[in-house]
Amino acid sequence: MTTQPHTNLENETMTATTHTQAQTPLLAGRNLRKTYRLGRRNTLQALAGVDVAIRPGEMVAIMGPSGSGKSTLMHILGLLHAPDMNHGPRPELTFGGRDMVALSEAERTRIRAREMGFVFQDFNLVPTLTALENVLLACDYAGSTGPKARPAALEALALVGLSERAGHRPAELSGGEQQRVAIARALVNRPALVLADEPTGNLDSARSEEVLALLRRLNRERGQTFVLVTHDHEVGAACDRVVRMRDGRIGGVDR
């Protein structure tokens, strides 16, 4: 059960090294800082300078207490926000070897659509659309429509075990099922990177285990890179690596 490697980058890294520390990172950030302005005088430094590297095929958990900056880090890695440029050393962010810092909003949107998948804590499906249509939305934004997109979307739903629920609206699905639809939507374009913000946060422990096992299986079978932001130690334990955040900095890396 394989997926075809698409690019030279992948071939080079895979032939030059196996899963070793020396591998070229898929995603690498240096000097990542983010300060939010909450009021006229009141600012919040969410990221105080973070260096991080995610290798292809890895499943990494970012953990830490509330306010430690883990979500902010995910938003920057997922190109939803840009790192601060205006003070301190220049931030760097590369994805697949390309510089992301200088990209325009439109270019970042494009990369999000085509090369990244997102899973959020509260599922965030479009309520008026069926499970299949929600998945198709991601195809649509990635520029794939019609006869190409539909089989891909059905396949993604099959992958998460929801083929029979394709025609149901989110309100007709359980929380676990909704999250699996969201995972299918994140995977449908076969992105290199899937970012998940508390993917099990709103699920009971049985559903939580189910979703976690699914993510782990997809990571192993399809070799996709997963970055999970989580509070859940079981999620952390299931990952290859845990990046611990504290006060806007990386406090340590397990394994």
Partner: protein, 411 residues
Amino acid sequence: MASGPAPSIVAASKPLEEINPMHTLRNLFRRRLRTGLTIVGIAIGIWALVVFGSMANRINDMVGNGSTYFQSGVISVWSGGGSVPKSNPIDLAVGNRIEAIPGVAAVVPGVSLNLSDDPSSVSFGLPPMITAEKPGLSDGLGTFVETAASGRLLTAADEGSNVTVLGCDLALQYGMHVGDTIVLRGESFTIVGVLAQTKTQPDNSAIVPFAAGQRLYLATLPSVVKANLTAAEVVTAFQVYPKPGIDPATVAAAIKALDPELGTMDASDFDQQAGSYAAMLDDVLMGIGLISLVVGGLSVVNTMAMSIAERTREIGIKRAIGASGARIVREVVTESALIGFIGGVIGLTLGAVAVTLANEAGRSSDTILFELTLGTAVTSVAFSTVLGALAGLVPALHAARLDPVAALRYE
């Protein structure tokens, strides 16, 4: 062991994504009451636009066909001065003096009087009239040709008999046909013909032989005036045809110089008067358009702004998973344009029903006020659709600028 997919090379160009119309409709029906009220608001505006637009069409028709009448260069002459034709008595002999003016080709004496003195029959637009002119004089001179829809037109041979040709609206109003008898100012006339529609004064006229017209007219005058007149010598107007190449205005000036009591109207006078009337109507129409623009537009802005506020999270998720700002704008604008379109179609339908009912009701009382043209119909729906799209643009741009992360956290 397999390797995973790596970042694909972003394609050079992205096809324009299509907006699924079913998704747009579903979004609209998520908030039935609000969407419904907005659509009703637009429908009322478009209804008003259709009704008043149809009225303007009808009146512009009258004006336009009246203008065609004067296009031949004919000058209307009446007694009493002023710029509006009057039905005052003039001596038939005045026609001979006008005919003597250089550049005059023909002078056709005529009589016109109100069909009825009953003030309740005064109608919007053109009043019903009895008209008559001396036969055989204007043949081949006018560019305004009347034709009979049924029966025939009057000829010189009808002089002396009580026959009449009715305008189409008049015939419809009285429900009369060729061969029926109609009482005009106390005298019975046999209908020998019904005119084809002209969309101007003749539609509302009963044409009678010249002598009969003179007799009926004289009978309407007060006895003091009547005492000094004989029916054969009285007319109310002359239609003066200048020779080819002669400026009607020059002839008109010469006619007024004969007697300051005479009033004249030629093509330029008519266009000026009728034009100002038409322009006023256009202003009224424009005003109604503007009101419906403001009212309808604001309610679309409000509806879309609220629906976007409700959908903040949804827009956030769409942006996060890769919808471009332009895509969000298109989704919202498509939705608001659809509101405008539906409102426009409903307004047009209701307007068409109202116009048809009013015209049907008006047939019996001679007030056919409306004419709904294809142009008016298309314009009103196009107007409401564009209005909806433009009104949606403001909330759409707001939605496109939302920060996806903040939008995702929005409760």
